[in-house]
């Protein structure tokens, strides 16, 4: 039993209606998430990377039970996912996710009450929780506006762990913070993960941060997983051209780091509208290596290396692997 994954997503899809006009009639659909398969093991940090519109937040909301899937199943510890204390979420903007009219102590108390902690015991638990996130005990008496962004995010983390969850979904937990604060928050999350035995789903557009925090990473593009692999494999030998494009676009702070970026011709253009998906491989209009089958055949997952698969025609059959493509002619 303990070997079974903590979380399984099996062919999960989600679509949203586009409404318009005075009557709000349905004008079409956006297939925001399509056929996503993922498994997350106990104690693992699983990263979901992608740009805006990739579906990463929609997947997060389905995992915590805030949105029902339209297709496929999500299973947590073998049972269908429902909203529960076992799965908690830390949101992106700590300024907006804390009630400004409640003191920090009151906010935490609400979470503890939900977890069934008796009133008499709550005060003690609040002090414990604040200690866990390395805030002074008198923070309980303060209001969100008195705290810095980093302190607010610590409170949000304390609130999430107050109900003793097993899985924590971190949706861009540091994107609103300065780098000097970000590093501190990540350090705290690593420590809590270890001491409380937490499993994390870490959602971020920041791949450098992902590299330092996640054990395995799934790369999303336009609502589907295009590559999944261990952090080592995915960053060391990215197989999908989109993963390579993403890695090549990261601004880095040293020449040594710059050499780690894959060599791929950077293309102009942006992520297409999710309401009007390209045929075949969804990445083909922006892919420098697109060839005949890419325009009309949707690629299946192909194993690239141990623990790494990607949805790309280059990896299947006789086509040269993407690693060999860098030496071939590059479009100007």
């Amino acid at each position: 039993m303990s070997d079974s994954p903590l979380l399984e997503l099996d062919a999960v899809s989600k679509r949203f209606a586009i409404r318009g006009g005075i009557a709000g009639s349905v004008r079409g659909h956006v297939n925001a998430v399509r056929q996503v398969n993922l498994t997350v093991q106990r104690g693992e940090v699983f990263g979901l990377a992608g740009e805006s519109g990739s579906g990463k937040s929609t997947i997060a909301r389905m995992i915590v039970g805030l949105l029902p899937p339209d297709g496929g199943t999500l299973r947590f510890a073998g049972r269908p996912v429902v909203q529960s204390r076992a799965i908690q979420m830390v949101f992106q903007n700590p300024g907006a996710s804390l009630n400004p009219r409640r003191s920090i102590g009151q906010s935490l108390s609400v979470a503890l009450a939900a977890a069934g902690v008796a009133r008499a015991a709550r005060r003690h638990r609040i002090a414990d929780l604040l200690g866990l996130v390395q805030l002074p005990a008198d923070t309980a008496l303060r209001y969100p506006h008195e705290l810095s962004g980093g302190q607010k995010q610590r409170v949000a983390i304390a609130r999430a762990i107050a109900v003793a969850p097993r899985l924590l979904v971190l949706d861009e937990p540091t994107s609103a913070l300065d780098v000097s604060v970000q590093a501190k928050i990540m350090e705290l999350l690593v420590e809590l993960g270890r001491s409380l035995g937490l499993t994390y789903i870490f959602i971020s557009h920041d791949l450098s941060l992902m590299r330092n925090f996640a054990d395995r990473v799934g790369v999303l593009y336009l609502g589907e997983v295009v590559e999944i692999g261990t952090t080592e494999a995915l960053f060391g030998r990215p197989a999908h051209p989109y993963t390579r494009t993403l890695l090549a676009s990261i601004p880095v702070v040293s020449a040594a780091e710059a050499r780690l970026r894959p060599d791929i011709p950077l293309i102009e253009g942006e992520v297409p509208n999710a309401a009007d998906l390209p045929s075949g491989c969804v990445f083909h209009p922006r892919c420098p290596y697109a060839f005949a089958p890419c325009t009309d055949q949707h690629p299946a997952f192909t194993r690239a290396e141990a623990g790494q698969t990607a949805r790309c025609h280059l990896l299947a059959g006789d086509a040269a692997s993407v690693h060999d493509m860098t030496t071939r002619e590059q479009p100007a």
Partner: protein, 331 residues
């Protein structure tokens, strides 16, 4: 030393700005100095609250006074001290000789006018102010030319489009095109590309680099992202708590940072290699209404000496790579 002597297009010297708040005064800029030479790409980098936006607003004349007050310093642009120019003369430079690219491409455009309308309004306004005569067709030709300069596909179609029809990256290009309309010598860009996805950001940075190299613009870029600075800038100023603490050519700064704050900040950046230190900085920036008497970074500095807590280190003048730190002075 004035702008002409240092050969810079823009020279900010010992700029001090205070803000009045609830009966107390916050010393937000405490002697900021920086140079932007012609045809160079200069970055001003720092974390939130360090004063980089206030510096930029002071240069563009966009500070609200009160509560802000410029208490000392000079801002010399092409030999004129902007702080001593008559308001009319100063406004005559803004949007023409120097112009600005605002941060948020999603909210900086007017949603009810087409891109062409908005660009025409900018041109017409500048033409009136500068006493230039231009026909409608000439203005249109200029708009199409500038949209082409920012690598916009099909400029005629873009000019007819409303902002909502464009993606974030396209809107960012439109904002850059607007800033280029009146052929500025200096472009000030506030966090260019930060609101965009990383692949789009890379395209915007390439465009800015091209504008500096091919069109001979000087660019002052304000950002919090050290990676962006290394990718794009020639020269860097690092700001902390209202002062420039280190200034150096980009290559030198990233190869051998000298100020303890710059070093600590670089250690905070997560590495693509997964190596490096990746640790934060303890403590918080000082309260600007009662900053520490010595170096403003001393309370958070691992290498602080007794002297750092009593006397602020001066910012040395002259060499290409400078740091305001007693440790560097001693070396």
């Amino acid at each position: 030393m004035n702008g002409a002597a240092s050969g810079a297009l823009l020279s900010v010297r010992d700029l001090a700005v205070t803000f009045d708040t609830y009966g107390r005064t916050a010393q937000v800029l405490d002697g900021v100095s920086l140079d932007v030479p012609a045809r160079r790409h200069v970055a001003l980098v720092g974390e939130s609250g360090c004063g980089k936006s206030v510096t930029m607003r002071a240069i563009m004349g966009l500070l609200r006074e009160p509560p802000a007050r410029v208490t000392a310093g000079e801002i010399i642009f092409e030999g004129h001290d902007l702080l001593r120019l008559k308001p009319r003369a100063r406004m005559g430079l803004c949007g023409t000789a120097m112009s600005m690219v605002f941060q948020d491409p999603m909210t900086s455009l007017n949603p009810v006018f087409t891109i062409g309308d908005q660009m025409r309004a900018i041109l017409a306004h500048a033409d009136r102010r500068l006493g230039r005569r231009r026909s409608r067709a000439e203005r249109h030709a200029r708009i199409i030319a500038v949209l082409g300069q920012v690598r916009m596909p099909d400029p005629e179609r873009i000019a007819r489009a409303w902002p909502i029809m464009l993606s974030g990256g396209m809107r960012q290009r439109v904002l850059i095109a607007m800033a280029l309309l009146n052929e500025p010598r200096l472009l000030i860009a506030d966090e260019p590309g930060t609101a965009l996805d990383v692949t789009t950001q890379a395209q915007i940075l390439r465009l800015l680099r091209e504008l500096v190299q091919a069109r001979g613009l000087a660019l002052l870029m304000i950002t919090h992202n050290l990676g962006v600075v290394r990718e794009a800038a020639d020269y860097v100023h690092v700001m902390y708590a209202g002062a420039v603490v280190e200034a150096a050519p980009a290559a030198a700064l990233f190869a051998a940072p000298r100020h303890p704050y710059t070093r600590a900040l670089l250690d905070c950046v997560p590495m693509l290699s997964g190596g490096g230190r990746f640790r934060g900085i303890d403590g918080a920036p000082p309260d600007y209404t009662s900053p520490p008497p010595g170096c403003r970074f001393a309370p958070r500095c691992a290498a602080a000496m007794p002297r750092c807590r009593t006397a602020p280190p001066a910012f040395p003048v002259g060499p290409d790579h400078r740091a305001a730190c007693w440790l560097v002075e001693a070396a």
